[in-house]
């Protein structure tokens, strides 16, 4: 009797942890709407969405966000133009061409790219990339749409590579063998059989990459110039632009609470959240379609099948490639790279009219050359960024730098409080997120069958996963700092970061629980163990490596984030370590942001901070990757 009560109690605790994600999403929406609502009322929804002038500081303030929305879309589109060919090429190389040894180096390398904190990318972009663009194109300012797109493209690379590599690798072997047996070359097999078969997975990868790019804040602030205008002409990639996230990042920290401007910023956050929700839900829909389709011959069904549209689609499909090429050519023309545009158009024409006459072998060599070039480019990007920061940062590193507090606004002295502050923040975040996340995953895997409630919970987790980090920051500011009135402090930062990494913990835990063979559970239950005993003693212990991996990945992510904590937990400089949870702290990513944007003449310390932050995050990621690889090997052998 007692044990049954206990079982029920345990079950409801797990249910609560799982439902927590849904509650958080509801709260985020509620608080953003609560603070954003009044701007829709005073300005009007249509004026707000379609007004072209965002000028809160003008004599008569104007709050129209269409320029910001267009800026966001343009930067994201540019990022995809840059990232998609590179990452698909790289994914093809990793899954189809690379030897196992090369593969074992390449995969972790691309994953490290994911570990570089966005403020480090921004720092690199601000100093190196924008100057490079200014000089290359001989334009007045390098802070442009192009710079933002390249940077966001780089940041989206790892997401797209890893998801599409998974999709390509999971195409059944029979497809390859069948195609090769009919006499097709390897390239024909890849381009005509394997990639089409993996297309839904690749599409989902691209959409996830789009979600990553749209939600990015810090890197965008630092390189796009933040001019709230629509580029003129609209394909002018050398114009400076401003995104929704950038507006939030720049203006939220500085706005008077309760003013019209404040409400307008929350209105911007609502719009941003809705855009990312749509994008992420469609990615989820595609991925789940992929999962369903895998059982019953899925080759034929297109992933977005709307009967009424299919004739139109069939008609449009042949043109879509031309339209895309034309767009890219236009963009290149706008940048003054008309030679490149010409080459692309010529190549397309040659392909269209003379494609059949070129021998299959030459095509294959050319195609493999492109694929390898893409891979080399990705590695080169990684090497350039890491090399630049290591070379410039090493001279700054000294014992004093690591162990002293900052003086003179961080120009001299060290970064000790920032290192410790960051460690405190991530430790607190993981202490909060780990029990909640593991509990939620246990509930989802062990206690329920798929039903309406699990679907709701999963959707909640997916939405949380896609929420831009700056929106977490805004929510933490509105809810924790202002509404609960705990002020800008360590605790608020921990909670905000915990919410942000919660989906990662849930996902990775779920995966590792699912990999535990069903027979173990059945054996335990058959011996008379209760469900809780089974979970505690049989299911969780072998899943621990997976859970640890997820936790470390989350720690790495939390350590590198700036946007969520900049309004809720940090100060420029403080001398002592915090002695309670209700004091603000310094944090490495924020310190780097401040040094590189606010404090002139801090160059050595700036690079040193970037290097320390990079090393910290990369160390966390490397440990996670090591543990995972170790287990993958164990599972196979």
């Amino acid at each position: 009797m007692v044990s049954r009560m206990k079982e029920k109690f345990v079950r409801s605790v797990f249910f609560l942890t799982a439902f927590f994600a849904v509650i958080v999403v509801a709260f985020i929406l509620l608080f953003l709407f609560r603070d954003g609502y009044s701007i829709f009322e005073t300005v009007g929804v249509l004026n707000f969405l379609f007004g072209t002038i965002w000028a809160p500081a003008q004599v008569v303030p104007s709050y129209g966000i269409s320029a910001l929305i267009i800026g966001t879309l343009l930067v994201t589109f540019g990022a995809m133009v840059f990232a998609v060919p590179l990452s698909i090429g790289c994914a093809i190389y990793i899954s189809e061409l690379a030897t196992p040894r090369v593969k074992s180096i390449l995969k972790p390398a691309t994953e490290l790219l994911a570990g570089i904190p966005s403020v480090v990318y921004g720092f690199f972009g601000m100093i190196v990339l924008s100057t490079f663009i200014r000089i290359t194109f001989n334009i007045p300012s390098g802070q442009t749409w192009l710079a933002g797109s390249i940077l966001l493209g780089i940041m989206a690379l790892p997401t797209i590579i890893s998801v599409s590599e998974d999709a390509i690798s999971s195409v059944p072997r029979e497809y390859r063998e069948g195609s090769l047996a009919t006499g097709a070359t390897r390239w024909q097999t890849i381009s005509r059989v394997i990639v089409p078969a993996a297309l839904s997975g690749i599409a989902a990868a691209i959409i996830l990459g789009i979600g990553r790019a749209i939600g990015e804040t810090m890197a965008v602030i630092m390189v796009t110039g933040n001019t709230a205008i629509i580029p003129n002409p609209v394909w002018n990639v050398l114009s400076s632009v401003r995104t929704l996230t950038g507006t939030l990042g720049i203006e939220t920290g500085d706005v008077a609470v309760g003013s019209e401007h404040y409400h307008a910023l929350f209105g911007v956050a609502v719009v941003l959240l809705l855009i990312t929700l749509i994008i992420n839900l469609s990615a989820v829909a595609i991925l789940s379609h992929l999962r369903d389709g895998r059982g019953a011959g899925r080759a034929k069904r297109s992933w977005l099948h709307i009967p009424a549209f299919s004739p139109i689609k069939d008609k449009l499909l042949p043109y879509s490639r031309i339209v895309l090429l034309a767009l890219i050519a236009l963009m290149l023309l706008a940048t003054g790279l008309w030679e490149v545009a010409l080459i692309i158009i010529l190549a397309a024409a040659v392909w269209h009219y003379g494609g059949d006459r070129i021998s299959r072998r030459h095509i294959e060599i050319f195609a493999f050359g492109c694929v390898i070039a893409a891979t080399v480019a990705v590695l080169a990007i990684l090497a350039i960024i890491l090399g630049y920061i290591i070379i410039n940062g090493l001279p700054a590193i000294s014992w004093d730098f690591l162990t002293q507090g900052p003086t003179d606004l961080g120009r001299s002295g060290g970064i000790f409080p920032a290192i410790i502050g960051t460690l405190y923040l991530v430790a607190g975040a993981i202490l909060i997120a780990l029990p909640l996340g593991v509990g939620a995953a246990v509930y989802l895997v062990e206690y329920t069958r798929e039903g309406r409630i699990t679907k709701l919970i999963r959707t909640g987790v997916d939405l949380l996963n896609g929420t831009p980090s700056i929106v977490f920051g805004l929510f933490g500011f509105a809810f924790l700092v202002l509404f609960l009135d705990i002020g800008v402090c360590l605790l608020a930062g921990m909670i905000t970061l915990a919410l942000m990494v919660l989906p990662t913990v849930i996902r990775t835990t779920e995966e590792s629980l699912k990999n535990i063979p069903q027979s173990l559970r059945e054996g335990s239950l058959a011996l008379g163990a209760t469900q809780w005993q089974t979970i505690k003693n049989v299911v969780i212990p072998p899943a621990i490596p997976g859970i640890v991996t997820g936790a470390i990945l989350s720690i790495g992510r939390a350590a590198g984030e700036t946007a969520p904590i900049m309004f809720v937990a940090v100060v420029f400089s403080t001398r002592f370590l915090p002695t309670s949870l209700f004091q603000p702290v310094m944090a490495l990513p924020y310190h780097l942001f401040i040094l590189s944007t606010n404090v002139p003449g801090s160059s050595t310390n700036k690079y040193g901070t970037a290097l320390v932050l990079l090393m910290l995050v990369v160390a966390f990621y490397s440990v996670a990757i090591l543990i995972r690889n170790h287990y993958a090997r164990k599972a196979r052998g």
Partner: protein, 325 residues
């Protein structure tokens, strides 16, 4: 089973490695603070004569510092123009008083004033006058002028421009002048001379003041790049040959060229401490610290130190203009 055990060993080793690293870092904690206290104390002894007994108290405060720091915390938030003064004064004050913990944050003048109204900080910093509406929200507001400042118009050193009038600045910032070649003597060699406008974000006190005095409350061009601090404007102008920007004179350094202003009666006035002091430089203003009611405790000591001759010397050392001198 054996493979499983070795996996556990592996995970344990990895975790242990992480632990050791964090222990090492934590080890630096104790070393760091014990090392740093004598260091700051001796520095204070040489730097500030008022801290003569510092060496003697250093050993005593070493043990009390942890306890005292929680009781003696002062927070400042607001204008990035006032920030360097606040931080330098805080550094000096903390050298003399090793148990005091002063936390300084930026944000902008709007944030500083708002934080005082909401009673979120001990001292708010502002480079803009507090508006009547803001005063009405907090009848206790106590505004203290701590220094004078000028706003310098800056360009990249590559620009050949020698001086500029406020009307020209206004024309540039409202978007009617877009090329350096339309200003006599101005130009950037090897470029198309197109002006890159750099300004501040919408809640900056510097922007508010610039919009009032220079723009005379007309609108800034929408193509202005918006940066959220003096430092960011300085850096962008230093990096961009065609740029123009405006920053507090306290931030001026040799990476940019500060333009003398041509007044309506033909005088050419260089932005400097001297011209701001005698108010001949046209874009000058006061800098404020704001408290809720009369400051008490550490806040009071801090502000008194700032207003003392030693504190005002720091104001001068940071490139701003001291009071009543």
């Amino acid at each position: 089973m054996k493979t499983k055990r070795s996996s556990y060993v592996f995970v344990t080793v990895c975790l242990a490695a992480l632990l050791i690293v964090s222990m090492l870092v934590a080890g630096c904690t104790s070393n760091g603070t014990t090392n740093s206290v004598p260091a700051t104390a001796s520095a204070a002894a040489t730097a500030a004569p008022t801290a003569a007994p510092a060496t003697a108290t250093a050993t005593a405060t070493q043990t009390t510092s942890a306890a005292a720091s929680s009781g003696q915390t002062l927070t400042l938030t607001g204008s990035t123009t006032v920030l360097p003064i606040a931080q330098a004064v805080a550094d000096a004050y903390m050298q003399a008083h090793p148990d005091a913990n002063i936390q300084v944050s930026g944000g902008g003048s709007g944030v500083g004033i708002q934080a005082i109204i909401n009673q979120k900080v001990d001292i708010g910093m502002s480079s803009a006058d507090v508006s009547a509406a803001q005063k009405a929200q907090d009848s206790n507001m106590n505004i203290i002028t701590i220094a004078h400042d000028g706003i310098a118009i800056i360009v990249n050193p590559a620009n050949t421009v020698q001086d500029i009038s406020l009307d020209q600045v206004k024309g540039i910032y409202n978007g009617s002048v877009t090329s350096w070649s339309s200003l006599s003597g101005a130009g950037v060699p090897n470029s198309n001379n197109q002006i890159v406008l750099v300004g501040r974000d919408s809640s900056s006190g510097t922007r508010t003041y610039f919009d009032q005095v220079v723009m005379q409350n007309t609108n800034d061009s929408l193509s202005m790049h918006e940066d959220n601090s003096n430092g960011a404007v300085l850096q962008e102008v230093a990096q961009t040959p065609n740029a123009i920007g405006y920053i507090s004179i306290g931030y001026l350094d040799n990476t940019v060229k500060a333009l003398p202003i041509v007044t309506t009666n033909g005088h050419v006035i260089v932005p400097s401490v001297a011209t701001v002091k005698d108010k001949t430089y046209p874009i000058h203003r006061d800098l404020y610290m704001i408290t809720n009611g009369k400051p008490t405790g550490l806040a009071n000591d801090y502000i008194n130190f700032l207003l003392s001759p030693a504190g005002q010397q720091i104001v001068v050392a940071q490139g701003y203009v001291a009071l009543n001198s």
